[in-house]
């Protein structure tokens, strides 16, 4: 019997939502780690019972938790994230240089090939790897050693490495994104990195076409076609057909191209989803109408998906980690809001219903398709 498990990170704990393949009725478990910020949970694609959790607190710092029974129980593992060597400095909000300081783990990405290997994207931006199930962590310091680090700067949410994509056809190749530095690619398992921001244009930058300094909010690909990348930039929806070497804008007819998440249909590599947000000054949907927009053409031509979503007086946000898809025959799409709702669509976005309505602000949503 197939089913889905939705892993939800919130400002005040983690929740696990489960359903069978029909996705009509849901069991809600949680809060796990009540009172802690849960930036991200993600399960290993090799062992669906292995779930990694980023648990953090302004008071008590960072914890990493691991479950080996599908989220029934968790055990704390290693929480020491030490930058390699002298951490150096990056650009601060006022343009001065500021020391690199570890704050939290934004994203955990389990390996596609080894169940005990997991990558962590952290604030201040860096990438770490564990090869022992999260018990110990080492920095992949070639990223910060790229040379452009002193020009990276924090966005309003901090200088976070929030996206990690591993190429299923070539595990040595990974993509990451940093707010506000941009996107980077490694072709040698993280030893060296190349900025891949050509074609991005950020008008608020002194050099709008700079090699780094872009506020990339999210990148996504379809696992069957990892050379084609989609990006939600601060403003603009972008597409690359050559592993990020060159980007072009595909915002098309979107009513606003500001937003945070972007994701790809599980079975249709040209079908992508975004949640347009009014502006970077007003982080809520346009006209109080919560809408997912879908393109079936890989961008440029977009349609609003509104059935079941509030179309008046809705002023929530949808954060960058808070959208995911399942891989059941009829692709399920999920997203969470800062108002605590988690919406699900079992028909690829045509209609939506809330799984839960009153959680703490949702930071992240991941989905496991269980066989």
């Amino acid at each position: 019997m197939s089913g889905v498990r939705v892993l939800v990170g919130t400002r005040k704990g983690a929740f696990i939502l489960t359903s069978d393949g029909k996705r009509e009725t849901w069991d809600v478990s949680g809060p796990h780690f009540a009172g802690w910020e849960i930036y991200h949970l993600k399960a290993s694609p090799l062992n669906p019972d292995r779930i990694y959790v980023s648990q953090s607190s302004g008071w008590f710092g960072q914890q990493i938790q691991r479950s080996d029974d599908g989220g029934k129980t968790f055990e704390p593992v290693g929480n020491e994230f030490a930058y390699d060597g002298t951490p150096g400095t990056h650009q601060w909000y006022d343009g001065t240089q500021h020391p690199w300081e570890f704050k939290r783990v934004w994203h955990l990405e389990p390996s596609l090939t080894d169940v005990d290997t997991v990558f962590a994207g952290v604030e201040d931006a860096a990438m770490f790897r564990s090869t022992d199930g999260g018990n110990s962590w080492g920095e992949l310091s070639g990223l910060r050693g790229h040379g452009s680090g002193p020009s990276w700067m924090p966005g309003a949410g901090g200088m976070c490495l929030h996206t990690i994509l591993i190429d299923p056809t070539n595990p040595d190749r990974m993509y990451i994104a940093i707010s506000a530095a941009g996107a980077f690619r490694t072709d040698d398992s993280g030893a060296s990195w190349k900025p891949i921001n050509r074609g991005l244009h950020s008008e608020y930058n002194p050099d709008p076409n700079a090699e780094v300094g872009h506020c990339v909010h999210r990148i996504a690909f379809h696992p069957s076609r990892p050379d084609v990348l989609f990006m939600q930039k601060h403003w603009d929806i972008m597409r690359s057909d050559n592993r990020g070497d060159q980007w072009h804008e595909v915002s098309g007819n979107l009513p606003t191209d500001f937003g945070f998440p972007i994701d790809v249909h599980a079975h249709e590599p040209e079908t992508i989803y975004v949640v347009p947000i009014k502006s970077d000054s007003e982080h809520f949907p346009l006209d109080g109408k919560l809408q997912v927009w879908r393109s079936r053409t890989g961008g440029n031509e977009w349609e609003a998906l509104t059935k079941g979503l509030p179309q008046s007086d809705c002023y929530v946000n949808v954060l960058r980690e808070a959208m995911a898809v399942d891989s059941l025959d009829s692709c399920g799409v999920y997203f969470g809001t800062t108002g605590g709702q988690v919406y699900a669509s079992a028909d690829a976005g045509d209609s939506w219903s809330p799984i839960v309505r009153d959680l703490p602000a949702v930071l992240s949503v991941e989905v496991q398709t269980l066989q």
Partner: protein
């Protein structure tokens, strides 16, 4: 034995109820008590003081015997009442946020 009162979230993390007790060989100071606490409950490493510097996290304070010891040297001797187990060392989270 030295008594230590942890804030709620650290009690949950360490899976303990109420105060915890640790034994310290030699001088009883903030540092030696925290060393003993972290040895007994490794999950607390990094939660009260930073891994890299061993400095107190800014939103935590240390109190004992109605004194704020947060800005004392971590090597300073703790009050005799703490060393004798008569009074606990209180680790308190700042009241902040919603």
């Amino acid at each position: 034995m030295i008594r230590v009162a942890l804030p709620f979230h650290l009690r949950t993390l360490a899976k303990v109820d109420g105060e915890v007790e640790v034994s310290v060989d030699g001088p009883v100071s903030i540092r030696s008590v925290l060393d003993a606490l972290e040895a007994k409950y490794p999950v607390l490493r990094g939660t009260i003081r930073f891994h890299n510097s061993s400095e107190r996290r800014p939103w935590l304070r240390f109190f004992a015997c109605e004194q704020d010891l947060s800005h004392d040297s971590p090597e300073d001797p703790l009050p005799e009442a703490v060393a004798s187990g008569e009074e606990p060392l209180l680790i308190v989270g700042a009241i902040a946020g919603g």
